[in-house]
């Protein structure tokens, strides 16, 4: 056994008397101490699924009810769908919000395969925003690009410009 057992004096061999090289042998008395043990109570542990078992503990409370334990922890129940951390987003509003305002880690959420057709329409309606990196890299060039686009547009579509102005 690897654990160190507390050697009890009455079982210890006497090396001290052998080691001491004196003219006469000395053997002092060893006090046999009574082992001290903390007081323990029997406690009933009730797990979150209702199963229970008894154990000995220093805690004086007779019944311990746990809310989070092995029965409802996802690490121990990897196949349980109930415990999976899935957001309830049936209408797709949270996802739409993320698509519009999501930045960084939030923008990279993978598009789920099981999408409704309505969701897809919504996705197409909302313009895909530039990611954060694009904003940084294209900071200086952007006004020029817009200018170029507006100059090309001016010749072709005047009515659109008028309509815009009217809206404003």
């Amino acid at each position: 056994m690897a654990t160190k057992t507390p050697l009890r004096p009455s079982l210890q061999r006497e090396y001290s008397s052998i080691l001491i090289q004196s003219s006469h042998q000395i053997r002092r008395a060893t006090l046999l101490r009574r082992p001290k043990r903390p007081y323990t109570f029997t406690q009933l542990i009730t797990l979150s699924d209702g199963s229970s078992f008894l154990h000995r503990t220093t805690s004086p409370i007779p019944v311990y009810r746990s809310t989070k334990d092995i029965k409802n922890s996802p690490l121990w129940n990897p196949s349980s769908k109930k415990l999976l951390n899935v957001e309830e987003d049936e209408a797709g509003r949270l996802r739409a919000f993320r698509a519009r305002f999501g930045r960084g880690w939030d923008a990279e959420t993978p598009v789920e395969a099981e999408e409704t057709s309505e969701d897809r329409k919504e996705e197409s309606k909302t313009e895909p925003e530039d990611s954060l990196m694009d904003l940084i890299t294209g900071y200086g060039q952007k006004p020029q690009k817009i200018k170029a686009a507006s100059s090309s547009k001016k010749g072709t579509a005047d009515g659109a410009g008028k309509a815009k102005g009217g809206k404003k």
């Binding site: 654990t3 079982l11 006497e14 008395a29 154990h55 000995r56 989070k68 092995i70 690490l75």
Partner: protein, 346 residues
């Protein structure tokens, strides 16, 4: 004896001078304990003594005598009291063995049959034996292994009678893994909870609190340890009390492990499990708990106010098993309910 001495001494007296004569007379005066003892010996045997007389037998009534007593005898007259001190193997009054209930060092128990132990006996042990079984068809011969400690081979005459060479690649002689049968299924032999409290070198209160916490979660008395050597970088001085250890065995160990698995570990935030590379390559696994995790134990939680919150220690927990390799130990620990993460190293 005396006569014999005289008889042998007589010619010497004749031959030697006065000094020799004086010496022989002195030997004559010497007292022999055995010769006097033979005179004192009784001729009659105790076996031939007659039975007690009739009236003694008639008057012998211990029940009436005890009834007649107004005050009870002190308990020391009824029960055996073992000696308080052990005075060495040659002392006539020896203390009883610690396994004797009358011994001062007797530790009673076990008081319960832990749930984990029952599970081990009924489920885990047979499973482990099945999992570690390797089938050898009849007539199979194991390939010859190279010798564990190598002999010195060569022409040098100095190789003769040399002690064997150590293993390749290091000094450590690894444990031999024997095929697992019903006799040597890996089992848990104990748990060691250890905590080195850095702050204890300035303020011993930290170590006291650590001891209290560890005793509360483990059900056993803790042992404190002093620093063996000074380390200037850590500000550690030799002889200072800095760490505490609790050694749990059988019942306590099982209760502690099941408590950990069922209640404590699932509540730790973002706990991934035991590291896959843990182990001392001879079947003892180790993991650590942060102070926040230690505070989640039901015993600490129930009166959390008792402990100064900044003094609750983190601790290392070593699980001792009889497995010869980490692989087997991991199989056992995993069956008990400890998850592992990362690359598994054997």
């Amino acid at each position: 004896m005396v006569l014999y001495e005289l008889r042998t001494g007589a010619p010497a007296i004749l031959r030697r001078d006065a000094q020799a004569l004086f010496q022989s007379t002195r030997t004559c005066c010497r007292r022999y304990a055995s010769s006097t003892a033979t005179e004192e010996l009784e001729q009659t045997s105790s076996f031939s003594t007659p039975d007690p007389s009739e009236d003694i037998i008639k008057n012998y009534d211990p029940i009436a005598r005890s009834r007649k007593r107004s005050v009870q005898l002190p308990p020391s007259r009824y029960q055996f009291r073992p000696p308080k001190y052990y005075r060495g193997p040659l002392h006539p009054h020896q203390p009883p063995h610690p396994s004797d209930p009358s011994s001062r060092e007797f530790i009673p128990g076990p008081f319960t049959l832990p749930r984990l132990e029952q599970t081990y006996e009924s489920t885990i042990a047979p499973d482990l034996m099945t999992l570690t079984y390797t089938h050898f068809p009849p007539g199979y011969r194991a390939p010859e292994k190279s010798e564990r400690l190598r002999t010195w081979r060569g022409d040098s005459p100095y190789f003769k009678n040399r002690p064997l060479r150590g293993p390749r690649g290091g000094d450590a002689l690894r444990l031999l893994r024997k095929p697992i049968t019903f006799r040597n299924i890996p089992r848990i032999t104990g748990v060691t909870i250890h905590s080195m409290v850095k702050e204890a070198k300035e303020d011993s209160a930290y170590l006291h609190v650590a001891g209290m916490v560890m005793q509360a979660i483990s059900n056993v008395k803790v042992k404190t340890h002093v620093a063996k050597s000074s380390v200037a970088q850590w500000g550690l001085r030799e002889g200072k009390y800095i760490s505490a250890t609790a050694h749990l065995k059988q019942e306590d160990a099982f209760h502690f492990l099941s408590k950990c698995v069922d209640v404590v570990l699932p509540r730790i935030k973002d706990w991934k499990g035991l590291k896959g590379s843990t182990g001392d390559s001879s079947g003892n696994l180790n993991f650590g708990l942060t102070p926040e995790a230690v505070a989640l134990f039901p015993e600490i939680e129930i009166n959390y106010d008792m402990y100064p919150p900044k003094m609750i220690p983190g601790c290392n927990i070593i699980i001792h098993t009889t497995a010869r390799t980490d692989r087997d130990a991991r199989l056992l620990i995993r069956a008990i309910g400890f998850p592992f993460y990362g690359k598994l190293v054997d």
